[in-house]
């Protein structure tokens, strides 16, 4: 089970005092049509980059709020884990990136007709963002604009 007891004492103390950003009001989009007609995009915060893409930068104060477009036809085995956090075990997602970026499973859902289609791109963030202001003001809305332009109906977000 994911609990803070997995973390070091210093990280636990930090999390205890951390002012979590409360989403208020909570926005809500009901599903407008059956899932079998919906286009789905993934967004992972595991810090994955596709071949040729810049790794995330762990040196940025407050966190790297940039994101990468991961093409839908990516071979999941070529995704590189550039997440620098030592507060989680990286071995599972290195063995099988579907653990944090389940693109193979999403393709199977589309083949089976459970969802309508897989979007042409997916989004990769790196989650160690302690100062999320720029995420909320800049890169989050930019990510949303891209997916809206793609005609995405539903998104699955996966942290690590």
């Amino acid at each position: 089970m994911g609990t803070t007891s997995e973390f070091s004492l210093s990280l636990r103390l930090f999390l205890k005092a951390y002012p979590w950003r409360r989403i208020d009001p909570v926005p809500w989009t009901p599903l407008a049509k059956p899932l079998s007609e919906c286009r789905l995009a993934l967004a992972s915060s595991a810090g994955f980059v596709a071949p040729g893409q810049q790794p995330f930068d762990a040196a940025i104060r407050g966190g790297d709020v940039s994101f990468r477009d991961i093409p839908a036809d990516v071979d999941v085995r070529t995704l590189a884990d550039t997440h620098r956090s030592e507060s989680f075990d990286h071995s599972g997602l290195r063995q099988d990136p579907n653990v944090a970026f389940p693109i193979d499973r999403i393709r199977e859902l589309a083949e089976r007709g459970r969802i309508g289609s897989v979007n042409r791109r997916h989004l990769s963030f790196m989650g160690s963002i302690t100062a999320p202001g720029r995420l909320v003001r800049n890169t989050g809305p930019e990510a949303a604009r891209r997916l809206v332009a793609d005609g995405v109906d539903v998104a699955l977000l996966v942290p690590v």
Partner: protein
């Protein structure tokens, strides 16, 4: 931190008309940040979709997330516990 980041991105997508589900690994963070739809999974950090090379389990988590999208009787924010 990852849980908060995906929750905040989910809110931006939802604001623009995309229905979202955010997997969450820390229940207390999900309760505080309040993603529109959160599926709390009882897995260790680093394993949001369960075990590596276990498509059956990964599909079970996905199916639970998809059912949240299809749910009609929810009041936001929605936090569901995934039961393996």
């Amino acid at each position: 931190m990852c849980n908060q980041a995906v929750g905040l991105v989910a809110a931006e997508l939802e604001r623009e008309g995309i229905a979202t589900v955010a997997i969450q690994l820390l229940r207390e963070v999900a309760e505080r940040v309040r993603p529109p739809r959160a599926l709390f999974v009882p897995f260790p950090h680093g394993y949001p979709m369960g075990r590596p090379h276990d498509p059956v389990e990964q599909h079970a988590v996905l199916e639970a997330a998809l059912r949240m999208l299809e749910g009609r009787s929810f009041t936001p924010p929605v936090l569901v516990d995934y039961a393996p």
